[in-house]
Amino acid sequence: MANAIVAEGLTKKFGSRLAVDRVDLSIPQGEIFGLLGPNGSGKTTMIRMLCGVLAPSAGRAMVGGYDIGREPEKVKRVIGYVSQKFSLYPDLTVRENLDFYGDVYGVPAGAGPQRKCDLIARCGLDGRENQTAGSLSGGLKQRLALACALIHQPRILFLDEPTAGVDPVARRFLWDLLFQLAQEGTTLFVTTHYMDEAERCMHVAYIHYGRLLVSGDPKAMKREEVANTHRRVEIICEPLMPALVVLRGAAHVDDVNVYGQALHVRLRDLPAARHGSEVALPYSVAAVRAQVMELLRGELSRAGIDVLSIRSVYPSLEDIFVSFARTIDRKDLL
């Protein structure tokens, strides 16, 4: 199957600041592609370039078979764009906004009314056709933006943080809709902060300071992490914050994060630990992990912390990305 989106060395500089740094991408038709990354990492800049509203500084990209630098107007005919900020006309009604975009995209007059009805029903906007867009709730605004972006039945849909500030029920509704669209063959390019959303994507990439760090199938990425190292330990203890300090200073600990009442610890590369003085043979991963866990339990006890439970856990996608971001930050500091 042909790729819907291909980027080669895509770069955007604002003055001397690199917002997007030599990004390579290829996204097959019909895929849900999730782009993750912290605020200011270049997600929106990427989307704006791919939508043809921002000229790249270097590199090239093909979207729907058209070059974004040379034929941006052709790109715009085959894509839909739901921007981060609500950008429809607040003083126009739901129907008037849809009519406007229908005309701007040149939706055939014959197909228009039926398509608008379908979209209103599909996006759960029925009964609100005559309400002004500005008076809609956050979730409904988002759905209207989606409806307007779908009015010309684009092959590729870009969504920039479509669920930011939207309640969980509305988020679920939106994602169900996105899955339907993907099944119908639409390619979706979604940026998000939410890891659970990323796990629903068929392909995720993590962008940090404009660099694309990892890219792949989220399930495979998790499996890989599990198979490779399985270095995640959950510790439930009292009190929590002093334990965090102790663990961050501990020899075998790479990273610690708070998860509710528990701490998630990412251990240092375990096979390497057998060269350490405290951990001896045998060196099956599970055995080494068990030894390290006992060491940590001992360290916490010596610090006067009451350890209630300590067990190994599977990493979430969030664990993977947070530790990625940390590793990069640390490298930047050096």
Binding site: G52, V53, K76, D99, F100
Partner: protein
């Protein structure tokens, strides 16, 4: 074409649903026209002259009554010559006159007398009006009155001025200020409305709705034209209202062809809207656009000949007037209404306005960038 129609329809909805715009479009123009029509007067009446009459005779009272009746001045009498200066200093009088003692005697002796006349020069317009009122002291008529009819001592033949004028004022025989101001006020009203309406593009920038538009295949021309056409339609309505008020409330004569007036208004609206839209294109916020528009508006009022003649401006500043659409509109509309000139004599003004509209319309379209750098 469909995109253009869609933008036009959308813009009309924006105008209809914005309550502030309705005030701007309906209420303000009417208020401005009525205010300017009634209030803008260059002729100053009822200025006060402080008179210290040290003569107190029939002749001196003759002078005072003539100042009042024919000079259009209000006479306040004071006792001491010093008080004349005081009244001017405090602003209670604009002009001060001291009639010296023994004036009547000198008239009888056929001798000339020098009066002291003080003028407050703070506002030159007022000073000139006051001096114009005081001219009755020295005109021929006054000389006729200040003669003693004594058969025994016939006065020498009064030396008359060798020239007597029989003047006719053309185009505005009563020199009505409203006739002078109203044609320009119609232009002011149109500028006010169109500059207020032309902020559509910068509003889309501020609301960030333009980002969504740029992600569609809409053409820049469709956007610019689609924004300008509804504004033009509304401004045309305001022009009709302004013309009707000028005609029926202030009896402004329209001696030229009404068709030419309409064509002139259309060209003027197009040029001002194009200019306003260009401001909108180069501004990042509505506030910025408003500041620039206010600047253009003020310069258009002051430097187009609306109030002050362009001829009075220093030569090196006069090109500024040629850079304002208002200048050409004023020249042409005064020609069409007051002078009844045929449109063929005003083709230069028509062409200048058309050039403005074309230039700024093009700049708007070229200045908009669908793809940011």
């Amino acid at each position: 074409m469909r995109a253009l129609r869609a933008v036009i329809r959308k813009e009309f909805i924006h105008i209809r649903r914005d309550p502030r715009l309705v005030g701007y479009v309906v209420v303000l123009p009417v208020i401005v026209l009525l205010l300017f029509g009634f209030a803008l007067r260059l002729r100053v009446d009822n200025l006060t002259v402080a008179v210290c009459d040290q003569d107190r005779t029939f002749f001196s009272s003759e002078i005072k009554s003539r100042l009042q009746q024919e000079g259009g001045l209000y006479v306040t009498e004071v006792d001491a010559p010093d008080a004349v200066g005081d009244l001017i200093w405090t602003g209670k009088a604009h002009l001060g006159l001291v009639i010296p003692p023994g004036f009547s005697r000198r008239v009888a002796d056929n001798q000339q007398t020098t009066f002291m006349l003080l003028v407050d020069g703070t506002m030159p317009t007022l000073a000139q009006a006051a001096l114009y009122g005081a001219r009755v002291l020295t005109d021929e008529d006054m000389a006729d009155r200040l003669t003693l009819d004594d058969p025994d001592h016939p006065s020498p033949a009064v030396r008359k001025n060798p020239i007597r004028l029989d003047q006719t004022v053309l185009f505005n025989p009563h020199l009505r200020d409203s006739d002078f101001f109203l044609p320009g006020t119609m232009g002011i009203v149109m500028m006010l409305v169109s500059l207020a309406l032309a902020t559509g593009i910068v509003r889309e920038k501020e609301q960030q709705t333009i980002e969504q538009l740029w992600a569609t295949p809409i053409s820049r021309l469709a956007l610019v034209a689609g924004k300008m056409i509804p504004c033009a339609a509304v401004t045309v309505l305001d022009f009709v209202v302004a013309l009707a008020l000028s005609r029926w409330v202030f009896a402004l004569p329209v001696r030229g062809s009404l068709l030419a007036v309409a064509a002139l208004a259309a060209l003027f609206i197009a040029s001002v809207l194009a200019l306003g839209t260009f401001v909108s294109v180069v501004s990042e916020t509505q506030l910025q656009a408003h500041f620039i528009s206010v600047f253009i508006f003020v310069v258009s009022i002051l430097m187009s000949g609306f109030i002050f003649p362009i001829e009075a401006m220093p030569h090196w500043l006069q090109p500024v007037a040629s850079a304002l659409p208002m200048t050409y509109f004023l020249e042409a509309i005064r020609g069409l209404t007051l002078k009844g000139m045929p449109a063929t004599h005003l083709l230069g003004d028509f062409a200048a306005l058309a050039a403005f509209a074309l230039l700024f319309g093009t700049l708007c379209t070229v200045g908009l960038k669908k793809q940011a750098a």
